[in-house]
Amino acid sequence: MMNKATKSIVIVGGGTAGWLIAGRIAAQHKSNTKEGVQVTLIESANKSPINVGEGTWPTMRTTLKKIGISESDFIRECCVSFKQGAKFAGWVNGAKDDFYYHPLVLPQSYPSINLAPYWQNDPLQNANSFSNSVCYQEQLCQLGLAPKLITCAEFTGIANYAYHLDSAKFAVFLQKHCTKKLGIKHVIDDVIAVNPLENGDIGSLTTSNSGHIAADLFVDCSGFSAILLAKHYKSAFVDKSDVLFVNQALAVQLPYQDEADDIASHTISTAQDAGWIWDIGLPSRRGIGYVYSDNHQNEDQAIERLAGYVGKDFDKLTIKKIPINSGHRKVFWKNNCVAVGLASGFLEPLEASSLVLVEMSADMIADQLPANRQMMDIIAKRFNETFTYRWQSIIDFLKLHYILSARNEAFWRDNRQTSSIPESLQELMQLWQYHSPYDHDFNHRNEVFPAASYQYILYGMGFKTDYQLQSSSFNQQEFARQQFTKNQQLTTKACQLLPKNRELLAKISQYGFQCA
């Protein structure tokens, strides 16, 4: 029994998480051959998936490549646009000119030099924003430019990039690829019972019409209901609403006024009095949503804020309400069952962490797929440690955006209460009083955000590190100055070279990227 090889996997749930996991495992473990691991995906006949994620990380490029998807097809069929980071508006004080960027391109010559102290100490540089001084991508975003050219190969670019996408279309697209090319068995049915073995493992699932479906490993991608991990195994939920206060989302889809309107090349997050509004530009429409705390604002007021942001066409739109229960499972992998996607937890979409966590889970499951049942407990232990750390890091990073604000509404004041700030983040903030975030702060092999991301947020929001005590150690002035100049040159060059986001997307839909 303990030496039984892992030869079959059942995934419960047909949303983006389910299909991404299925695709990654099937592609790596050759499910379309006799010797390969057999993958079955059970999609509920009655419940439609939530498909919340509309923003990805650059990691999605690698994920799609590994699954064997063509970037041109993906862009055409999933209503995709390019994402080069996030613009945070109104987060510091809410003034009209209050904004900063978290771009995807690392600071110039990172990590051979940490430019943060040189930027802060050089009046010529700090007259400019941190992101503009060290990275060319803020300008690309401001001008609505694409990260690549039509001559670039698939999945490669001039500037680092991720995607915005229509997640419902993405799930359908993945499903088609997974079933046609990767040999995944697709069962549309409802799971009505879980049949445990003596050792507590899941032996099989009983479905309404397809009988019992057995497997060696079960992946729970059943969304918020987490029918295997939560309902069957009763894995506890670690509530984080005491750290991250937003608990409701109101989402709308807004058509463009004019077909030729610019498509933003970044996510725009605009702070409100009790939360923030996301604004994501797809080729056909914008996705806009207000995430807020209903402890600080009632729904009517929240709808008013969203209406104020959207403008005159708001009355014609349908509002979708999504509750946000911030937190995650205490244990993600129990016995022979692992939860991924919303079944494993959920956080506000401030840094698009939802799909990236699915990809990271898929990587770990596919790369370290336990050879047999005996190995599974070791891999499960590792998985749980890794993902507990990752969720914690993401929560810290999200909270960082709130505690640096100087806004005065109750929601923002409450966010700065020490009692609401995780100790791990408090510790980092103490360190960063005297030195800027760098790789020594994040040396875990399972890091989610690089130190550069913390720099972009800290210095974007006006945080000042006191370098006086260590001023003697900054002896690379000349090299630093060269890097600032180099970044300026790159900015000019990239702005001249790159086409408008909409122009490139139109060309891709006409010609596609030719493969080499």
Binding site: L149, I150, T151, C152, A153, K507, Q510, Y511, G512, F513, Q514, C515, A516
Partner: protein, 283 residues
């Protein structure tokens, strides 16, 4: 200058003539020049043939490589230009083809490529497809670019050019030649497109990186060039490989890849130029 294309007709263009063109002057400013698949048999014996991506559409085009940077033609600089067959795409101006309606271009191209395929089929399997009767003049019109410098529209140039029309008002050899050149060019383009779509779908294209250290120790990283990967070709499934052979594409690939030997010659030519330049400087 932007092209201004109009249909050639006796009424408006009876006095027009074509001036002698200096294609060498034009070629001297070009490091790549498009070629068609029907030119490669000859071309591959004289210069490298590679693929580049069009900056406008991102689609591959087949080009002859004459230099390593924009505006550089090493064959011209080395006074070797007149010893090689020049690409046809330098020869058509001021003449261009126009199409009468939607679908006309496709029909015309099919007509042009059909004859080639029939010829190939004859030599390999002895199966001869019957060519349906087709009259190109229903689909295609001959145009000129009114802005072209090679036109003489009022005999200003002492009638030194080739007149469009004969004294009996019939099209002259000049117009007939133009039509032939354009048909060959269009055929080449169509054959290249067909070949390319096959090659791209099999993912046989690979980037060609050239790291060159010149005579004067300066270095160049040349990118943006592509070739067909012979290793990938050998890894194809037997059916796909047989299909390529049947279409004559394996021979095509061999011709294209054999032309790459001329890259070494191009490097040598450029090094000679650098050396000559250095010698002049040291005098």
């Amino acid at each position: 200058m932007k092209k201004h294309l109009v249909e050639v007709n006796f009424k408006e263009h009876s006095h027009y003539s074509l001036l002698a063109k200096n294609t060498t002057e034009q070629a001297a400013k070009l490091n790549i020049i498009p070629v068609g698949l029907n030119e490669i048999k000859q071309a591959s014996q004289h210069y490298p043939l590679v693929w580049v991506k069009s900056s406008h559409t991102g689609q591959f085009k087949l080009v002859a490589l004459f230099g390593f940077e924009t505006g550089e033609n090493v064959y011209c600089q080395s006074k070797l230009w007149h010893t090689i067959p020049s690409p046809l795409s330098l020869k058509n101006d001021p003449f261009y083809l126009g199409y009468n309606n939607k679908g006309a271009e496709q029909r015309f191209k099919q007509h042009l490529t059909r004859s080639v395929k029939t010829e190939h089929a004859k030599s390999t399997t002895d199966k001869i497809e019957k060519t349906p009767s087709y009259n190109p003049s229903n689909d295609v019109i001959l145009c000129i670019d009114k802005n072209s410098a090679s036109l003489d529209d009022n005999g200003k140039h002492n009638n030194s050019g080739l007149p469009f029309y004969q004294s009996n008002n019939q099209p002259s050899a000049c117009l007939q030649n133009a039509q032939r050149t354009l048909a060959t060019l269009t055929q080449g383009q169509a054959l290249t497109d067909e070949f390319l779509s096959k090659i791209a779908s099999l993912q046989l294209m690979q980037p060609l990186k050239l790291d060159i250290t010149w005579q004067d120790n300066t270095q160049a990283d040349i990118s943006g060039l592509y070739t067909i990967d012979p290793l990938q070709l050998n890894l194809l499934k037997p059916a796909a490989h047989a299909d390529l052979i049947a279409q004559g594409y394996v021979d095509t690939i061999e011709l294209l890849n054999s032309s790459l030997a001329h890259i070494q010659r191009l490097v040598q030519l450029k090094n000679n130029l650098i050396e000559a330049h250095q010698e002049v400087l040291s005098l």
